[in-house]
Protein backbone atom coordinates (compact mmCIF):
# COMPACT_ATOMS: atom_id res chain seq x y z
CA UNK A 1 0.00 0.00 0.00
CA UNK A 2 1.72 3.12 -1.23
CA UNK A 3 -0.08 5.48 1.14
CA UNK A 4 1.72 3.97 4.13
CA UNK A 5 5.05 4.91 2.58
CA UNK A 6 3.98 8.55 2.61
CA UNK A 7 4.61 8.49 6.35
CA UNK A 8 8.16 7.22 5.85
CA UNK A 9 8.86 9.78 3.15
CA UNK A 10 7.40 12.78 4.94
CA UNK A 11 8.78 11.54 8.26
CA UNK A 12 12.31 11.49 6.87
CA UNK A 13 11.79 15.00 5.50
CA UNK A 14 10.45 16.26 8.83
CA UNK A 15 13.42 14.88 10.73
CA UNK A 16 15.87 16.30 8.17
CA UNK A 17 14.21 19.71 8.41
CA UNK A 18 14.29 19.62 12.20
CA UNK A 19 18.00 18.85 12.07
CA UNK A 20 18.38 21.88 9.81
CA UNK A 21 16.44 23.93 12.34
CA UNK A 22 18.81 22.62 15.03
CA UNK A 23 21.89 23.84 13.18
CA UNK A 24 20.22 27.22 12.64
CA UNK A 25 19.58 27.41 16.38
CA UNK A 26 23.19 26.62 17.28
CA UNK A 27 24.46 29.05 14.64
CA UNK A 28 22.29 31.86 15.97
CA UNK A 29 23.19 31.02 19.55
CA UNK A 30 26.87 31.31 18.66
CA UNK A 31 26.51 34.40 16.49
CA UNK A 32 28.39 36.58 18.97
CA UNK A 33 30.95 34.16 20.36
CA UNK A 34 34.54 35.29 20.08
CA UNK A 35 37.67 33.32 19.29
CA UNK A 36 39.07 31.25 22.13
CA UNK A 37 42.73 31.03 23.13
CA UNK A 38 43.47 28.90 20.02
CA UNK A 39 42.38 31.81 17.80
CA UNK A 40 39.56 29.97 16.04
CA UNK A 41 36.00 31.18 16.56
CA UNK A 42 32.78 29.17 16.05
CA UNK A 43 32.18 28.26 12.40
CA UNK A 44 28.65 28.36 10.98
CA UNK A 45 27.29 24.88 10.32
CA UNK A 46 25.14 23.93 7.37
CA UNK A 47 23.26 20.67 6.74
CA UNK A 48 23.53 18.98 3.32
CA UNK A 49 20.39 17.17 2.17
CA UNK A 50 20.48 14.06 0.06
CA UNK A 51 17.73 11.99 -1.58
CA UNK A 52 17.18 8.61 0.02
CA UNK A 53 15.46 6.01 -2.17
CA UNK A 54 12.81 3.94 -0.42
CA UNK A 55 12.33 0.79 -2.41
CA UNK A 56 9.78 1.51 -5.11
CA UNK A 57 10.38 3.95 -7.94
CA UNK A 58 8.97 7.35 -7.11
CA UNK A 59 9.38 6.91 -3.38
CA UNK A 60 12.17 9.23 -2.32
CA UNK A 61 12.83 10.46 1.20
CA UNK A 62 15.47 12.84 2.47
CA UNK A 63 18.39 12.44 4.81
CA UNK A 64 21.12 14.69 6.06
CA UNK A 65 24.30 13.42 4.40
CA UNK A 66 26.84 15.70 6.09
CA UNK A 67 27.03 18.82 8.19
CA UNK A 68 29.52 21.16 6.60
CA UNK A 69 31.29 24.02 8.31
CA UNK A 70 31.57 27.39 6.64
CA UNK A 71 35.15 28.51 5.92
CA UNK A 72 34.32 32.18 5.57
CA UNK A 73 36.52 34.53 7.53
CA UNK A 74 35.15 35.54 10.92
CA UNK A 75 34.07 39.07 11.66
CA UNK A 76 37.00 41.11 13.06
CA UNK A 77 36.34 44.09 15.30
CA UNK A 78 38.94 46.49 16.67
CA UNK A 79 38.46 46.48 20.46
CA UNK A 80 41.77 46.51 22.36
CA UNK A 81 40.04 46.49 25.76
CA UNK A 82 38.24 43.20 25.03
CA UNK A 83 39.78 40.24 26.91
CA UNK A 84 39.72 38.20 23.69
CA UNK A 85 41.65 40.77 21.66
CA UNK A 86 44.82 39.66 19.86
CA UNK A 87 48.15 41.50 19.80
CA UNK A 88 46.87 44.05 17.25
CA UNK A 89 43.78 44.74 19.30
CA UNK A 90 41.33 42.87 17.03
CA UNK A 91 38.62 40.53 18.32
CA UNK A 92 37.58 37.69 15.98
CA UNK A 93 33.90 36.81 16.16
CA UNK A 94 32.23 33.75 14.63
CA UNK A 95 31.46 33.79 10.91
CA UNK A 96 27.69 33.36 11.39
CA UNK A 97 25.57 35.56 9.12
CA UNK A 98 22.42 36.25 11.13
CA UNK A 99 20.34 37.27 8.10
CA UNK A 100 21.21 34.07 6.23
CA UNK A 101 20.33 32.04 9.29
CA UNK A 102 16.93 33.72 9.66
CA UNK A 103 16.12 33.00 6.01
CA UNK A 104 17.25 29.41 6.53
CA UNK A 105 15.03 29.14 9.58
CA UNK A 106 11.92 30.41 7.76
CA UNK A 107 12.56 28.05 4.85
CA UNK A 108 13.05 25.08 7.18
CA UNK A 109 9.90 25.81 9.17
CA UNK A 110 7.80 26.17 6.00
CA UNK A 111 9.10 22.88 4.63
CA UNK A 112 8.42 21.25 7.98
CA UNK A 113 4.81 22.49 7.91
CA UNK A 114 4.35 21.27 4.33
CA UNK A 115 5.47 17.77 5.21
CA UNK A 116 3.32 17.62 8.34
CA UNK A 117 0.33 18.59 6.22
CA UNK A 118 1.16 15.85 3.73
CA UNK A 119 1.17 13.33 6.58
CA UNK A 120 -2.14 14.63 7.93
CA UNK A 121 -3.78 14.28 4.52
CA UNK A 122 -2.40 10.77 4.08
CA UNK A 123 -3.76 9.86 7.52
CA UNK A 124 -7.24 11.17 6.66
CA UNK A 125 -7.24 9.30 3.36
CA UNK A 126 -6.15 6.07 5.04
CA UNK A 127 -8.87 6.38 7.67
CA UNK A 128 -11.46 6.84 4.94
CA UNK A 129 -10.06 3.84 3.10
CA UNK A 130 -10.44 1.76 6.25
CA UNK A 131 -14.13 2.67 6.39
CA UNK A 132 -14.61 1.47 2.81
CA UNK A 133 -17.80 -0.55 2.38
CA UNK A 134 -19.14 0.22 5.83
CA UNK A 135 -22.51 1.92 6.43
Amino acid sequence: MSLFQVFNISGSAVSAQSQRLNTVASNLANADTVAGPDGSAYKARQVVFQTELMGAAGAAGVRVSTISESNAAGRRVHDPKHPGADAEGYVTYSNVNAVEEMVNMISASRSYQNNVEVMNTAKTLLQKTLQLGQN
Binding site: M1, S2, L3, Q5, V6, I9, S10, S12, A13, Q17, R20, V48, F49, Q50, T51, A56, A57, G58, A59, A60, G61, V62, S107, A108, S111, N114, N115, V118, T121, A122, T124, L125, K128, T129, L132, G133
Partner: protein, 136 residues
Protein backbone atom coordinates in the same frame (compact mmCIF):
# COMPACT_ATOMS: atom_id res chain seq x y z
CA UNK B 1 -22.45 -12.91 -14.68
CA UNK B 2 -20.63 -12.18 -11.44
CA UNK B 3 -17.79 -10.45 -13.27
CA UNK B 4 -20.28 -7.91 -14.61
CA UNK B 5 -21.06 -6.99 -11.03
CA UNK B 6 -17.43 -6.62 -10.09
CA UNK B 7 -16.13 -5.00 -13.28
CA UNK B 8 -16.85 -1.49 -12.00
CA UNK B 9 -15.22 -2.37 -8.70
CA UNK B 10 -12.10 -3.66 -10.44
CA UNK B 11 -11.76 -0.49 -12.44
CA UNK B 12 -12.23 1.72 -9.39
CA UNK B 13 -9.78 -0.30 -7.30
CA UNK B 14 -7.10 0.04 -10.00
CA UNK B 15 -7.78 3.77 -10.02
CA UNK B 16 -7.51 3.85 -6.22
CA UNK B 17 -4.14 2.07 -6.26
CA UNK B 18 -2.83 4.48 -8.87
CA UNK B 19 -4.11 7.47 -6.90
CA UNK B 20 -2.25 6.19 -3.84
CA UNK B 21 0.91 5.78 -5.92
CA UNK B 22 0.59 9.32 -7.24
CA UNK B 23 0.06 10.59 -3.70
CA UNK B 24 3.31 8.91 -2.70
CA UNK B 25 5.07 10.44 -5.70
CA UNK B 26 3.91 13.95 -4.81
CA UNK B 27 4.85 13.38 -1.16
CA UNK B 28 8.38 12.49 -2.35
CA UNK B 29 8.55 15.68 -4.38
CA UNK B 30 7.41 17.78 -1.42
CA UNK B 31 9.85 15.99 0.89
CA UNK B 32 12.72 16.75 -1.48
CA UNK B 33 11.84 20.40 -2.01
CA UNK B 34 15.16 21.46 -0.45
CA UNK B 35 17.42 18.67 -1.73
CA UNK B 36 20.07 19.96 -4.16
CA UNK B 37 19.93 18.31 -7.56
CA UNK B 38 16.60 16.53 -7.00
CA UNK B 39 14.48 16.23 -10.15
CA UNK B 40 10.71 16.25 -9.60
CA UNK B 41 8.79 13.26 -11.01
CA UNK B 42 5.24 13.15 -12.28
CA UNK B 43 2.92 10.42 -13.46
CA UNK B 44 0.74 10.44 -16.59
CA UNK B 45 -2.37 9.30 -14.77
CA UNK B 46 -4.62 8.70 -17.81
CA UNK B 47 -2.07 6.49 -19.55
CA UNK B 48 -1.23 4.62 -16.34
CA UNK B 49 -4.92 3.92 -15.69
CA UNK B 50 -5.46 2.74 -19.26
CA UNK B 51 -2.51 0.39 -18.93
CA UNK B 52 -3.65 -0.86 -15.53
CA UNK B 53 -7.15 -1.66 -16.74
CA UNK B 54 -5.89 -3.36 -19.89
CA UNK B 55 -7.26 -0.78 -22.30
CA UNK B 56 -3.83 -0.06 -23.72
CA UNK B 57 -0.79 -2.17 -24.42
CA UNK B 58 1.55 -2.11 -21.45
CA UNK B 59 5.14 -1.25 -22.11
CA UNK B 60 6.32 -4.66 -21.14
CA UNK B 61 3.99 -6.48 -23.55
CA UNK B 62 5.82 -9.25 -25.34
CA UNK B 63 5.20 -10.46 -28.86
CA UNK B 64 4.31 -14.15 -28.92
CA UNK B 65 5.66 -15.50 -32.19
CA UNK B 66 5.87 -19.17 -31.26
CA UNK B 67 3.57 -21.53 -29.42
CA UNK B 68 5.84 -21.84 -26.38
CA UNK B 69 6.10 -18.10 -25.67
CA UNK B 70 4.74 -16.99 -22.33
CA UNK B 71 2.50 -14.01 -21.76
CA UNK B 72 2.36 -12.07 -18.53
CA UNK B 73 -0.58 -13.04 -16.35
CA UNK B 74 -3.77 -11.08 -16.81
CA UNK B 75 -3.96 -8.15 -14.43
CA UNK B 76 -0.20 -7.97 -14.08
CA UNK B 77 1.07 -4.51 -14.79
CA UNK B 78 4.36 -2.79 -14.98
CA UNK B 79 5.26 0.03 -12.63
CA UNK B 80 3.59 3.21 -13.82
CA UNK B 81 5.84 5.16 -16.12
CA UNK B 82 7.33 8.13 -14.32
CA UNK B 83 8.18 11.30 -16.14
CA UNK B 84 10.29 14.27 -15.23
CA UNK B 85 8.52 17.51 -14.43
CA UNK B 86 9.60 20.53 -16.45
CA UNK B 87 10.87 23.26 -14.14
CA UNK B 88 9.01 26.54 -14.49
CA UNK B 89 11.86 28.50 -12.96
CA UNK B 90 15.53 27.70 -12.85
CA UNK B 91 17.11 27.09 -9.50
CA UNK B 92 20.67 27.58 -8.39
CA UNK B 93 20.90 24.11 -6.82
CA UNK B 94 19.32 22.36 -9.86
CA UNK B 95 16.26 21.33 -7.83
CA UNK B 96 13.16 21.26 -10.06
CA UNK B 97 10.43 20.95 -7.42
CA UNK B 98 7.82 23.66 -7.95
CA UNK B 99 6.16 23.86 -4.55
CA UNK B 100 3.02 25.66 -5.80
CA UNK B 101 2.42 23.05 -8.45
CA UNK B 102 3.11 20.18 -6.07
CA UNK B 103 0.72 21.53 -3.45
CA UNK B 104 -1.96 21.95 -6.10
CA UNK B 105 -1.40 18.42 -7.44
CA UNK B 106 -1.46 17.09 -3.90
CA UNK B 107 -4.83 18.70 -3.12
CA UNK B 108 -6.20 17.61 -6.49
CA UNK B 109 -5.04 14.05 -5.98
CA UNK B 110 -6.45 13.77 -2.46
CA UNK B 111 -9.86 15.00 -3.60
CA UNK B 112 -9.85 12.52 -6.48
CA UNK B 113 -8.75 9.72 -4.15
CA UNK B 114 -11.75 10.48 -1.95
CA UNK B 115 -14.00 10.62 -5.00
CA UNK B 116 -12.83 7.15 -6.03
CA UNK B 117 -13.54 5.92 -2.50
CA UNK B 118 -17.08 7.27 -2.76
CA UNK B 119 -17.59 5.63 -6.15
CA UNK B 120 -16.57 2.29 -4.66
CA UNK B 121 -18.83 2.84 -1.65
CA UNK B 122 -21.68 3.74 -4.00
CA UNK B 123 -21.36 0.64 -6.14
CA UNK B 124 -21.02 -1.57 -3.08
CA UNK B 125 -24.23 -0.07 -1.70
CA UNK B 126 -25.99 -0.53 -5.03
CA UNK B 127 -24.97 -4.18 -5.12
CA UNK B 128 -26.07 -4.75 -1.54
CA UNK B 129 -29.43 -3.15 -2.28
CA UNK B 130 -29.85 -5.41 -5.29
CA UNK B 131 -29.01 -8.47 -3.22
CA UNK B 132 -31.35 -7.55 -0.38
CA UNK B 133 -34.24 -6.63 -2.65
CA UNK B 134 -37.33 -4.94 -1.28
CA UNK B 135 -37.89 -7.34 1.61
CA UNK B 136 -37.00 -4.90 4.38
Amino acid sequence: MIHRLTDTLNFQSEALVLRAERQRLIASNIANADTPGYVAREMDFATALRQATGQAATNGQMAATAAGHLQPAAGARAQAQLQYATPSQTNLDRNTVDMDRERASFADNSVKYEATLRFINGSVRTMLDAIRGQSQ
